[in-house]
C-alpha cells in the first residue's frame, strides 16, 4: 500500500472520528437486529467493517458538499450527517425516514445535509458526483462532489466514463472506491485483470492512491489531501481503500462458501472501530473513561433513534404517486 500522506489530526478531530465510527457501527448493529426482528421490509446492506472510509472522508466535507453513494450507503449517509433516527425510520418504511419511506436501504436522500442519494444500481453515483463537480465549478464555488462505490463498480463503464470526464474537465470530485474484495460473492481478483484500483490514475491522468481502508487516520489523511486539491481547483482524485465487510452481503443472506471463516476472522482483528479506539488509548488522546462516555452517548442516541423509528407513522398510501413531476403539466 502507498505511503500515508500526513495531514494534521487534532485530538478533538480524532475523538470526533471515533464518535462517528461508533454512530455508524451501532446504527448498523441496530439495523441488523431490526432486520432479524422483521422490522425491515426489503434489503439491508450493512457497512460493518468498512466504517473508516465513510468517516475518514466525510470528516472533510461541509453540508453543502455533495455525496453520492450506492446500495451499501448507510455509513455514507450517517457520516454525511443524516441522523440515525431518519436512517432507521427509512428502513422501517416510515414517513419520518430520510426518503419518507420511498427508499429503504438503497435509496437514501437527504439533500439538506448534502446526502444527494444512494442507488440500488451499481455505477451511477460515480457519474452524478462528476456532475456535482461540474455544477460546483460552473457556479464558481469551492464545493466538492464525492462518489463512494465498491470494487464491483470498477469494472463498469460508469467508472471509466466518469473518471475520464472529471479528469479532462478538472472537476472537484473525489472518487472513493471501497474495495472490500467482493461484489456479492464474485471476487475482485476474478472480475478484474488488475487487482488494484488506486493504481489506475495514470491510465486516466488523475492522481490516485491506495490506502488502508480500515485505518481511519490513513483515510482521513488521503481524503484531506484530495478534498483540499479539489476545493482549490486542482481537479479530481481517485482513492482506493482496501477493506472488508465482515457481515453478509445483505442481512439474511447465506455466506455461500465464497470466502473462508479464516479470511473473515483475519479482518475482524483489524476492525476499524477497535483499531481507532486502541490508538486513542495508546496515544493517550483519551482515557478509558472518556472513550466509554462516547460509547454510552452513542448507545443512547441509537436506542432513541430506534424507538423514534418504531413509533413513527407509516406514509399514507394516498401519497404514493406524489412528486413524479415537480410541476403540473400546464404550469
Amino acid at each position: 500500500m502507498a505511503d500515508t500522506p500526513t495531514i494534521p489530526l487534532s485530538d478533538e478531530a480524532a475523538l470526533s472520528l471515533y464518535r462517528k465510527l461508533l454512530i455508524v457501527r451501532r446504527s448498523e448493529e441496530q439495523l441488523a437486529r431490526s432486520y432479524a426482528a422483521g422490522l425491515i421490509h426489503g434489503a439491508c446492506h450493512t457497512y460493518v467493517g468498512e466504517e473508516a472510509i465513510a468517516v475518514g472522508v466525510c470528516a472533510h466535507l461541509r453540508p453543502d458538499d455533495a455525496v453520492f453513494s450506492t446500495h451499501r450507503g448507510h455509513g455514507h449517509a450517517l457520516a454525511k450527517g443524516v441522523p440515525p433516527s431518519e436512517l432507521i425510520a427509512e428502513l422501517y418504511g416510515r414517513a419520518t425516514g430520510c426518503s419518507r419511506g420511498r427508499g429503504g436501504s438503497m435509496h437514501l436522500f437527504a439533500p439538506e445535509v448534502g446526502m444527494m442519494g444512494t442507488s440500488g444500481i451499481v455505477g451511477p453515483c460515480i457519474l452524478q458526483a462528476t456532475g456535482a463537480g461540474y455544477s460546483f465549478k460552473l457556479l464558481k464555488t469551492d464545493r466538492v462532489g464525492v462518489a463512494f462505490f465498491g470494487d464491483g463498480a470498477v469494472n463498469n463503464g460508469a467508472f471509466h466514463e466518469g473518471v475520464n470526464l472529471a479528469t479532462i474537465w478538472d472537476l472537484p470530485v473525489i472518487f472513493v472506491c471501497e474495495n472490500n474484495q467482493y461484489a456479492t460473492e464474485v471476487p475482485f481478483a476474478y472480475s478484474s485483470g488488475n487487482p488494484d484500483v488506486g493504481n489506475r490514475g495514470p491510465a486516466y491522468g488523475l492522481p490516485s492512491v491506495i490506502v488502508d481502508g480500515n485505518d481511519v487516520r490513513a483515510v482521513y489523511a488521503a481524503a484531506g489531501e484530495a478534498v483540499a486539491r479539489a476545493r482549490s481547483g486542482g481537479g479530481p482524485t481517485l482513492i482506493e481503500g482496501k477493506t472488508y465487510r465482515t457481515r453478509a452481503h445483505a442481512e439474511g443472506m447465506r455466506e455461500g462458501g465464497y470466502r473462508t471463516q479464516a479470511e473473515i476472522d483475519s479482518w475482524k482483528v483489524r476492525d476499524p472501530v477497535l483499531l481507532h479506539r486502541q490508538w486513542l488509548l495508546d496515544e493517550e488522546i483519551a482515557g478509558e473513561s472518556q472513550v466509554i462516555a462516547i460509547e454510552t452517548e452513542v448507545q443512547s442516541i441509537i436506542e432513541a433513534a430506534a424507538e423514534f423509528a418504531k413509533n413513527s407513522p407509516w406514509p399514507d398510501g394516498m401519497t404514493a404517486t406524489d412528486h413524479v413531476f415537480s410541476e403540473a403539466p400546464h404550469a
Binding site: 427508499g103 429503504g104 440500488g120 455505477g123 463498480a153 469494472n155 463503464g157 456479492t184 472480475s191 404517486t321
Partner: protein, 325 residues
Amino acid sequence: MREITFMEATREALAAAMQADPTIFVVGEGIGVRGGNFATTLGLYERFGPERLRDTPISERGFVGMCCGAAMTGTRPIVDFMFLDFILDAMGELINQISKIQYMSSGRLKMPILLRGCIGIGHAAATHHSGSYYPIFTHIPGFRVVVPSNAYDAKGLFATAIRSDDPVLFLEHKSLIFNKGPVPEEDYAIPFGQARIAREGTDCTVVAIGSMVGKTLDACGQLAAEGVSIEVIDPRTVAPLDMETILASVHKTGRLLVVDETFQPCGIGAEIAAQVVDRGFDDLDAPIRRLNGAHAPTPYSPPLESAIVPNLQSIAQSIRDLLAE
C-alpha cells in the same frame, strides 16, 4: 403430477437444454458457484463447469454486447440479469444491435440469445429492483417477449425460448417464481404466440399478464358468487401477442378489461385495446378498460407499495364497473 416451483421448472428446462447442446452457456453475476440469486442455475455449475456458467463482473452492457457477438459466431448465450432492472445499462446493445443483426445481415446471421430476469413489484424491493419493462421490448421490433404466469407454462415456454434463433426475453415475476404447480418431468415446448384461456366465461373478457393472472382468477372466483361469468386470458407471450384468441373471446363477451402491473401509457393494454377497437369494433358492447400499476416509480414502504399495484379488490371493482357500462 408432481408439483415443483416456477423456478425449478425453468431450471429443469435449462439443464436439459444444456445437456443436449454444448454451445449453450450462461453469464451473470453469481450464477456460477452460487447458483444464481434466485437459484436459476443452482447445481448447474457442478455439472457444466465455469465456461458454461460464467460469473461476470458488474458489466451489464459489456456482457450483453459480448453475448451478441457470441450468438453471431456459433454459440447460444443466456444472459441471467438477476433483476431485470439491470438490463437498462445494456439497452444500446439490445435495441441497436441484438434486435437488428438478423435484419441487417439479411438473415445470414442468427441471434439465438436468451435474456432472463426477475421482474415486478413486491417484497419492498423498491424502485431499482421492481421494474418489468416488457412493453418496451414489445414496441421494438426483433424481440420475443415471454411473461409466464405459472410453473407449467414456465417450463414449456423456456424450452421454446432456448431453442429459438431469435432474441427472447424471458421474464419471471418475483411473486411467482417460488409458486408451485404441476409440471411434467418430460420435456415439452409451448409455442410462442398462443394464449391460454385460464378461465372460461361469457360476460366479460379479462386479459391478464404474468402475475396478474392469478390475482384475476381470484377476483373471478369472488365475482362468480355474484353470478358473474368472466373469461380470463393469459397471453403467455406479449410479443408475439395472440390477438386471435382475444378477439374471439371479445366476440363472445362484448367486453374487455386488460390487467397489467406495468405502466399504462403505451403499454400492453394500450396495444390490445387498439387492436380490438380496430379489428373487433363491432363486437364491443362497452368501453375497453385498462387496469395498471400506477404511473410512478416503485416506492419501498409497504403501504405505498401496495397502493400502486392492482389487487384482488381493484380488479374485481374494475370488472364490476365495466359490466355496469
